[in-house]
């Protein structure tokens, strides 16, 4: 099938790319835009490893078509650190509190947690577990992820003061 030209804003940069209608946004991000931080776990909406923020809405990019990004903004894990390389508070706390082991789920968790903290800056443990229930981790047992998100929430709230 003929490739289609898509214009989107990815991590703040306007980009133009070619893709086939059947390619998922996940495939486009990884294979066309070469942003390989976003991971494929299940490819069917269950694990959250592929999470990105599409026009402000947290989505599983494996369940979105690349062509649907036309005219939209996409935020991936690569967009979280500052231009000077400063890590986002979530990236810091995941490192400092060991919220990861093998790391395959981590970009998805961090993007998902970013969306959670934007709508609820000071979530309880229950709210974090519920909010992140679309993200699966086979290694950590989740406790340290929850702590990292709670800590990052505090850092973000203090930074705003």
């Amino acid at each position: 099938m003929a490739k289609v030209i898509v214009n989107a804003v990815v991590n703040g940069e306007p980009v133009e790319f070619f893709c086939e209608p059947r390619q998922s946004l996940l495939e486009v991000i990884r294979d066309v835009l070469l942003l390989t931080g976003t991971k494929e776990g299940c490819n069917d909406g269950n694990c959250g490893a592929c999470n990105v923020i599409l026009d402000g809405v947290l989505v599983d990019s494996c369940c979105v078509l690349g062509v649907e990004a036309q005219g939209k903004t996409v935020e991936t894990i690569e967009g979280l650190a500052g231009t000077d390389g400063d890590l986002h508070p979530l990236q810091r706390t995941f490192l400092d509190l060991t919220g990861l082991q093998c790391g395959i789920c981590t970009p998805g968790f961090i993007v998902s947690a970013k969306a959670l903290l934007e709508s609820n800056p000071n979530p309880s443990e229950h709210e974090i577990r519920l909010g992140l229930s679309g993200n699966l981790c086979r290694c950590t047992g989740y406790d340290k992820i929850v702590l990292a998100v709670q800590e990052a929430g505090k850092m973000l709230t203090e930074a705003k003061r």
């Binding site: 099938m1 209608p21 998922s24 947290l58 369940c63 979105v64 078509l65 229930s133 679309g134």
Partner: protein, 290 residues
């Protein structure tokens, strides 16, 4: 995924003509949380995928004097983000906030949930108890179908080739009414209903008797099931545990579940009784608060 073309109509008439093209092998894409996964697995085929999200009528979410206009492509997230809608139709919020995860709810639409016609669909029983009516558009114009008549079997519905679902209209909730949907799943989140039950009740002025009631069940029949007799028997009855148990028994009597990996016939029938009683109690509570 097998190749297909993709189109983004910006008007209803354009969407209808696209759906009628390609010899009926066009499919509508709302959130894609059923469609894209099924297409990838080869369980659905389409030569043309028609995106519903730029057609204004399909994306309307508006409360009017006559009720709720729910565009078919409206996502679950838009529902739980809309405080007036949540206030007016809390049972719709019950359904919209348990489908999959936050990520899934950002995309999954109520219309997609209905069109996909899974017996376990979590929005459909709520639409049924709220007496929802579907507006369908196609090459021969538009027609209306009550939600309880929309699904015809697992994965099938009344849409003819070339037709699409435009919206679901819910009448405004009458005074002294309340509704609730709940389901049973082994896991708290990210699971599909073993059984589910929605109840709508309207109480009389004293709020001590049922004036009307509607009950609908998920995952216990080939389609989401309208348990009409179970609701009807409550009319005129006092609001008490005895009446609620009678309705729950009547709901059990119409459930026709199967045994599969999620549950057995016996477990599902038992669940219908428990869930229907709970749905009714909560609906009464909401009606009394209203």
């Amino acid at each position: 995924m097998i190749d297909f073309d993709y189109a983004v109509p910006t008007s209803l008439s354009e969407a209808v003509s696209l759906m009628g093209s390609n010899g009926g092998s066009a499919r509508m894409l709302a959130g894609g949380t059923d469609l894209l996964i099924m297409m990838r697995a080869g369980r659905r085929l389409a030569k043309l995928v028609v995106d519903a999200k730029s057609v204004p009528e399909l994306n309307e979410l508006s409360l009017t004097d006559s009720g709720l206009n729910l565009g078919a492509a409206t996502s679950c997230k838009r529902i739980w983000d809309d405080e007036p809608v949540v206030q007016a139709y809390p049972a719709l919020n019950d359904s919209a906030s348990i489908i999959g995860s936050v990520q899934i709810q950002g995309r999954a639409s109520v219309g997609g949930n209905l069109c996909n016609a899974a017996p376990s669909a979590d929005c459909t029983p709520t639409l049924i108890v709220h007496s929802g009516v579907c507006t369908i558009a196609g090459p021969n114009g538009t027609r209306q179908v009550p939600v309880e008549e929309f699904c015809t079997g697992p994965g099938t519905n009344v849409l003819q080739p070339g037709e699409l679902l435009v919206n679901i209209k819910l009448p405004s909730a009458p005074t002294n009414s309340g509704a609730h949907y709940l389901r049973f799943t082994p896991r708290n989140e990210m699971d599909i209903a073993v059984a589910g039950s929605a109840a709508f009740v309207q109480l009389d002025e004293s709020k001590q008797n049922f004036a009307s009631a509607r009950i609908s069940l998920a995952a216990v029949a080939p389609t989401p099931l309208f348990a009409k007799a179970a609701g009807d028997l409550l009319v005129g009855k006092p609001v008490n545990e005895e009446s609620i148990q009678q309705a729950a028994e009547a709901a059990k009597a119409v459930a026709k579940p199967i045994t599969d990996m999620r549950g057995t016939v016996d477990q599902r029938i038992h669940l219908v009784g428990v869930l229907t009683a709970r749905a009714l109690r909560k609906a009464v509570e909401r009606a009394r608060e209203a």
